[in-house]
Symmetry: C2
């Protein structure tokens, strides 16, 4: 297996050690919990996390204006409830804690268990579950993918506006009603802990509807030029979105060069223009990845002035741009 790692079982620990060296504003608790060195003294605290392999998510968003804590599991593996509980305790300043959970059974179970344990200890904890991936037909089973990062930024902004836990939860729930994503890959990711590729593709094949854990897509198709891929993904998204004014994210899957994200962004904007859709904000970059997978996802969200303000608001995360 060719990976820039030391011992595969140390992937998470080594990565967090390195991350701490890169960002002097964070510290690591219990080897897996990333928090801001200077905890927020008031305002709802935001806790997210999940398996690793999605960098910069989630630890890279532990920063002023975004998350207060990221609970990091091993690669593609949910963190345990005791770690989530420890994160809640580390960041709760008395104004309550919101858990931002991606819709995977392990994450939902472990975060909700931690929520109950924290509530039993007197913490005011709410949770929201992100399920933006429309590759999955069944709404209840939709996975949380790149749209989660928009939730991080929005909730971080609302917390900085001193909204209560109930108010933030309600606003995020409402926003998520029009948050839709779908992803694709031309190359799978190589999982360091197993030494295996998530799937195998022939030279002329691509996957539409991939997940962020190395899963193959819902559809295997002949590979196409990026303008056609963009149209294919937008066709899926427009089965759900109804607005003609959208916030749009073009998210790299980790191994996609920045040049190709620019090219994809061009065709996204051209395509949306031909559909007479106005884009009020365009985000392009690696926000929620699957290790070194080559591909991208598109996320759309109905225009909303508060979300726009949130996306423009200051954060000291080096990864939200």
């Amino acid at each position: 297996m060719k990976k820039l790692v030391n011992q595969r079982e140390n992937f998470l620990g080594d990565m967090l050690d390195g991350l701490k060296l890169r960002d002097s504003n964070i510290e690591i608790l219990e080897e897996t919990i990333v928090v801001r060195k200077e905890r927020k003294k008031s305002g709802v605290a935001l806790v997210s996390g999940g398996g690793s392999g999605h960098e910069p998510a989630h630890a890279g968003y532990v920063a002023e204006g975004m998350l207060d804590a990221a609970v990091c599991g091993e690669v593609f593996t949910s963190p345990t409830p005791d770690k989530v509980l420890a994160a809640i305790k580390a960041v709760d300043n008395g104004d309550g804690v919101l858990l931002i959970i991606k819709n995977y059974s392990g994450d939902v179970m472990n975060f909700e268990m931690a929520q109950e344990m924290a509530q039993a200890e007197g913490h005011n904890v709410a949770s929201i579950i992100v399920k933006d991936d429309v590759a999955i037909d069944n709404e209840e089973q939709r996975r949380g993918v790149a749209g989660t990062v928009i939730v991080h930024k929005y909730a971080g902004y609302l917390s900085d506006q001193n909204l209560s836990l109930d108010q933030i939860t309600e606003k995020v729930e409402t926003m998520m009603e029009t948050l839709y994503s779908i992803g694709m890959a031309i190359e799978p990711c190589l999982v360091p802990t197993t030494g295996e590729y998530g799937f195998n593709l022939a030279e002329d094949e691509m996957e539409i509807g991939i997940g962020i854990h190395g899963e193959k897509g819902i559809y295997r198709e002949k590979s196409e030029t990026v303008d056609k891929i963009v149209n294919r993904l937008l066709e899926e998204l427009f089965k759900h979105t109804k607005s003609s004014r959208l916030i749009v994210m073009v998210n790299g899957m980790g191994g996609t060069p920045d040049s190709e994200l620019s090219i994809a962004a061009k065709y996204v904007m051209e395509n949306l223009s031909s559909r007479e859709v106005t884009v009020s904000k365009l985000l392009v970059g690696d926000y929620m990845t699957a290790l070194d997978m080559q591909g991208f996802s598109l996320t759309v969200l109905d225009e909303n002035q508060t979300v726009l303000d949130a996306l423009e608001a200051k954060t000291d995360s080096k990864y939200f741009k």
Copy 2:
């Protein structure tokens, strides 16, 4: 060939169109020259560039605090002298222009030809040539690689301090005397304009001393764990660097996931600590890439307070972090 592109001959144009959609502070002149919409009214203007495929270099550094213009050639192909000349004319405000050239024969020839043409038209133009890649023994033939981005930031800061063209040129020349880089790859890049890989590697092989144009390395070796790779690269760098106080850059080659850059950074810092070297600034990220190549380079520079100030100074480039 699997690449997220439309027509391969439109790679550069499509990429710049996309970049402009991502960054409302830039505009594109003559289809290949990226400049700031609001030109600097005073102070030495900085022009860099070269072939494309190194994103975010160079166009991503056209921003307050860094470059005034990036002249973009096709993938791995030098821009022509007339484009460099047009860039010089577009940004010269009367305080002179510094060309920051990576040491490749095409770039050096074309930028220097443009320099002469501009001088003949009365512009005050100086140039410096970055040759930080110690993979090449012969000093005159050393390639300009990731250290170039440190030069961009340093020169941008000096310009903002209102230093003259002569002063900036001299300071940058002095700084470059201790600027050394070397890179490695575990996977080659796929060049969109040819549809070919830069080289081929067996499952258990890696390349040490790769270039940023898809060139294979100087040494082909058995692949190793990242701690040993880090030591291998530092051994090469310490044949040149003499200081025990260093500025260090860990640069991703484009297809390397951020998690692995964090892991590499950890072992770089551990290794330098064991050599009793103090790191006064650590930069980690994709600064100067080779398309989707998987690997990283290390750059070291003797500690220097002005360079440290420059690296900390504000820029509105989304890519210098």
